[in-house]
């Protein structure tokens, strides 16, 4: 019996194929096209992303397995694919000027962005651990390079190297975890594990495998104590890539984590709950405490992203399938506030002078009221002030925790968000309450930046004031677990 390649199923992975093709196209053009306009590659990426997005929307109603069960087309995957493509769109928009300013090689930059998004899409649409691993590596390797694209910048080189070395360890853990799981159950499909668990299979090797898998995910999500790389990498990477990592990589890793655990290891989560509970508490508290004393806004946002991962983990710990839609909703909300905040950070800088110190924001509201207002909205949303999406996200996550009976976890979580308010407000305080310490100079208020900011603000308000459609979407996405 020969294996036949199921060509007709390729139609279901059109978005992935489109991204790949555009990635190669950009690479080839970089090599062969001598004369080109500065924003050619950016525009090509935008076109590729937008057309992929259209196909993803078409696929939203499907719920099938293709390629002999290696690949899934379901609501959860499609929703996340859509989210990744929106992230890619926004990041590409904000990169248009940023890449030019920082003189980053454009062909490589955009093609790697496309490939890494492709990797994320693979990650979230498989039940097979090996496929997930391939997606994970594709995403990670592209990001390692993207972090170090500003070669003459010491911090960028450090970030790239650090991320690569530690990331390689995490991948090794992950792969080893897969090996152990395979060894104990004879399956690399996560359905095999749930069957084994239902049969009462409960060996040390299986547990060890799950533990190693968790370490791999925790590294990508940046949960304490696997977060050490985050501040340095977020600081050193180009700002647009930082935004991409904080929104995209985190979402991809979290949702894959969710799929693997909720589809296969849910019986275990009652035992694992305690460990994850502890990780959630430590992650929130440690990140928020450290963020209090950061003077560099990118580092501050890095710690804040760790803290947000902690909040999301609160919903994860509950182990309630229905409530896991709060994770999806939170990730959507976080995407917009995060990309918005990083956009404001990106447009503040000039070539070679990034203006990342918090004091460079002093008195900004006087010279640039629009930028200050935008950044204020993003920071307030990160704080969780209603009626912005960040509030609704916290509302949903913490109400889920109460619903599942995790009262103390919720209490620690909300107290943490009060602590976090201090460092977000600190930036607002610098912008509005202080006089400028040095001349801010002209900042780059070009239309792509403004467009990204406005899109983000629109979604933050929409998702905050009328969250219903988004929560319904998230609910339908997690229905794949039932």
């Amino acid at each position: 019996m020969g294996l036949k390649f199921p060509v007709h199923e390729l139609i279901f992975i059109t978005p992935e194929i489109i991204l790949c093709c555009f990635g190669f196209l950009v690479l080839l053009l970089e090599a062969f096209l001598k004369k080109r306009s500065p924003s050619l590659f950016g525009v090509l990426t935008l076109i590729g992303t937008a057309s992929a997005l259209i196909f993803v929307l078409e696929l939203f109603e499907f719920n099938i397995e293709i390629l002999s069960g290696l690949y899934l087309i379901d609501r959860l995957g499609s929703l996340l694919k859509g989210l990744f493509l929106i992230i890619l769109l926004l990041v590409t928009l904000m990169s248009l000027r940023y890449v030019e300013r920082e003189e980053i090689t454009q062909g490589e930059y955009y093609s790697l962005l496309l490939f890494s998004t492709f990797g994320m899409m693979v990650m979230v649409s498989s039940r097979n651990l090996l496929t997930i691993f391939v997606g994970l590596e594709l995403m990670s390797l592209s990001i390692y390079i993207l972090c170090g694209l500003m070669r003459d910048n010491l911090k960028a080189a450090e970030a790239s190297l650090k991320y690569f070395l530690l990331g390689a360890f995490a991948s090794a853990f992950f792969a080893y975890g897969i090996a152990l799981l395979y060894g104990s159950t004879g399956s690399i499909d996560i359905r095999g594990y749930s069957e084994a668990l239902l049969r009462g299979h409960n060996s040390t090797i299986l547990m060890l495998g799950v533990a190693l898998l968790t370490v791999g995910f925790a590294f990508k999500i940046a949960l304490v104590p696997f977060h050490m790389w985050t501040p340095d990498v977020y600081e050193g990477a180009p700002t647009s890539i930082t935004a991409f990592m904080a929104a995209g990589v985190k979402s991809a890793a979290f949702v894959t984590f969710l799929r693997v655990f909720y589809a296969a290891f849910l019986p275990l989560i009652k035992d694992w709950g305690d460990i994850l509970w502890l990780i959630a508490v430590i992650t929130m508290s440690y990140a928020n405490l450290t963020a209090l004393v950061q003077d560099n806004i990118k580092r501050m946002l890095a710690y804040s992203s760790i803290a947000h991962a902690g909040y999301i983990l609160v919903a994860f710990v509950t182990g309630e399938k229905l409530l896991s839609s709060s994770i999806i909703y939170y990730l959507m909300a976080y995407t917009f506030m995060n990309i918005g905040a990083f956009t404001c950070v990106a447009l503040m800088g000039r070539k070679g002078e990034e203006n990342l110190g918090i004091d460079s924001y002093a008195g900004l509201s006087g010279r640039h009221p629009f930028v200050s207002l935008c950044l204020t909205i993003f920071l307030l949303s990160l704080t969780g002030v209603p009626p912005l999406a960040g509030f609704m996200g916290k509302f949903y996550v913490f109400s889920s925790a109460i619903r599942a009976g995790y009262i103390w976890l919720a209490v620690i979580g909300v107290l943490n968000s009060v602590m976090a308010a201090y460092y977000y407000l600190r930036v607002i305080m610098y912008m509005y309450f202080k006089e400028p310490v040095k001349e801010i100079g002209d900042i780059d208020l070009s239309s792509p930046y403004i467009l990204v900011s406005l899109i983000c603000i629109f979604f933050l308000l929409y998702m905050g004031i009328y969250p219903r459609p988004f929560i319904m979407l998230a609910n339908s996405a997690v229905s794949v677990f039932f």
């Binding site: 002030v385 209603p386 913490f398 619903r403 009262i407 919720a410 909300v414 308010a421 201090y422 305080m429």
Partner: protein, 518 residues
């Protein structure tokens, strides 16, 4: 008139003004001011029909608006007012006009942002007072923080940054715990009735085991007590008051503090009646400590604004004491005192703001003998001071008298201790007045001080008008709230009788067990 969504209009009209202000060019501060004034005056006029069309013979909520917002979760856009919120809304719209007027020359930098914050603030305040859905309430409640944070931080005094952040963090810390309690209440109600709802009127009917009532009540009570502020949660107040610009202090004292006491009346007490009854001794004692402590600390303040801030702690102590007497006199007096405090303390802050604008100091020691150079100012100051001391004939008397009467009725010792605050109040206010107004002029700068201008006289006349009206003809206001307060007391008593009958032994001991359905 049923069809006009008057409450929604009242809530969002200032917001429209704020958005409109965004588009007025920065170079034209005068246009900004006039627009802001126009919006606040129209808003005040719009709120007047509430008073005249409010049917005091009807029980329950009036001007109700209700539409679905998130039906699956039971969140509704649900507005309505009763006799309590009606008067507070009027106070809000009235004080906002005065605040816009008193900032006319006071605010010179970032004029546009200032008035935007102010109108935004008004939206949030009125929304908080109208909301009958807990989520809607919480949204407006938190929304009040941001403009106030900016008002203190941008246009405040030298230690404004410290004060602004302290204000924000304190209030937020209280309210997030309340949010969790709201969730718990929501799921408990679901467990009991099988319906998801954040509708307060429905939630009043929840049967919450007493042990859990204590937990939830304390979460709500701490949040509101911080806002009131009750001793020992009052420490943010003197800082915030002292550093805020005049109008900020007026709105803070006049309306924001009332949100705490209003929260007790609308949410904490009726939702958890048994816990509220059981905490009468604790809250009454804290209120009395607040009354006496606030008065004593006021006496020793060298700074006028700080003095008034501590006197607020004392006055709000009365409000809490009256409310937790749980009888007609006490509760009505307490609501009346909320209005009084808004008017008279608001007036005091306005007066201090006027003198600060002239002399750029608020130290009592820098003044003395002002009555000879500023006779009109001194007259107004006298009237407002007397109202704050609760002289018969002024509004303050009616409120404090009723509160003490209620407290006596409830428990004599509370009344006696509370009454000492009246004496202490007279001491610090009159002593302050004497040091500022009488005696010889010790400082050369004070000799050339100009008396009040027309705008200032107008503002203060409005205040004095209400001081006298509310002092001489309180019935006009009491008749609006009589039935509401009666219903409130009847409801709380009924519920307590019910809880007294419930067997305590069968109760689940923790929230987790109560909600958990697995």
């Amino acid at each position: 008139m049923v069809d006009i969504p008057i409450l929604s209009i009242l809530i969002f009209f200032p917001l429209v003004g704020a958005i409109l202000l965004l588009f007025i060019p920065r170079e034209r501060p005068y246009a900004t001011k006039v627009t802001a004034l126009l919006f606040s005056v129209v808003e005040f006029i719009l709120s007047l029909p509430l008073f005249f069309f409010f049917d005091e013979t009807k029980k329950g909520m009036q001007f109700v608006e209700r539409s679905e917002w998130f039906p699956e979760w039971g969140i509704t856009y649900f507005l309505g007012i009763d006799g309590i919120s009606l008067l507070l809304i009027l106070l809000t719209t009235f004080l906002t006009v005065l605040c816009v007027l008193c900032s006319w020359t006071d605010i010179k930098t970032k004029v546009k942002e200032y008035y935007i914050s102010f109108l935004f603030m008004e939206t949030a305040m009125i929304g908080t007072l109208c909301a009958l859905d807990l989520v809607l309430f919480y949204i407006f409640w938190e929304l009040m923080l941001v403009p106030m944070y900016l008002l203190i931080g941008v246009w405040g005094g030298p230690r404004r940054i410290y004060a602004a952040i302290k204000f924000f963090l304190y209030t937020m810390a209280g309210s997030v715990l309340m949010l969790l309690a709201i969730f718990a209440l929501y799921y408990i109600y679901f467990k009991e009735k099988g319906v998801f709802t954040f509708n307060v009127i429905d939630l009043y009917g929840a049967h919450i085991p007493v042990s859990i009532q204590y937990i939830l009540f304390s979460a709500f009570a701490i949040s509101f007590a911080i806002k009131v502020p009750m001793f020992p949660f009052h420490t943010w107040l003197p800082d915030a008051h002292t550093e805020a610009p005049t109008a900020g202090s007026v709105i803070l004292a006049g309306v924001l503090l009332k949100m705490g006491t209003y929260g007790f009346l609308r949410f904490a007490v009726p939702l958890f009646p048994k816990a509220a009854y059981d905490s009468i001794p604790l809250i009454s004692i804290l209120a009395i400590i607040g009354i006496i402590y606030g008065a004593i600390v006021s006496m020793m303040q060298p700074d006028l604004k700080r003095l008034i801030a501590f006197s607020s702690v004392s006055h709000l102590g009365y409000v809490m004491l009256g409310m937790f007497a749980f009888n007609m006199q006490g509760v009505e007096g307490s609501i009346y005192q909320m209005l009084n405090h808004g008017i008279s303390t608001g007036g005091l802050f306005l007066l201090v703001g006027m003198i600060y604008e002239r002399r750029h100091t608020r130290m009592i020691a820098d003044f003395g003998g002002l009555s000879s150079v500023m006779p009109i100012y001194a007259t107004f100051f006298m009237i407002v001071t007397l109202s704050s001391i609760a002289l018969p004939g002024t509004n303050g008397f009616v409120g404090e008298f009723l509160i003490l009467l209620g407290a006596f009725k409830a428990k004599k010792i509370y009344g006696i201790l509370g009454a000492t605050g009246v004496i202490l109040g007279a001491v610090y206010m009159l002593w302050m007045f004497q040091r500022v107004m009488f005696g010889k002029i010790k400082h050369e700068e004070n000799k050339g001080l100009k008396d009040l201008c027309g705008r200032e006289i107008f503002i203060l006349s409005a205040i004095v008008f209400f001081i006298i009206l509310m002092g001489v003809y309180p019935k006009m206001f009491f008749k609006k709230m009589d039935l509401t307060v009666q219903e409130f007391l009847r409801f709380v008593e009924e519920r307590n009788a019910y809880y007294a009958k419930v067997e305590e032994s069968q109760e689940p001991s923790s929230i987790a067990k109560l909600i958990g359905d697995r």
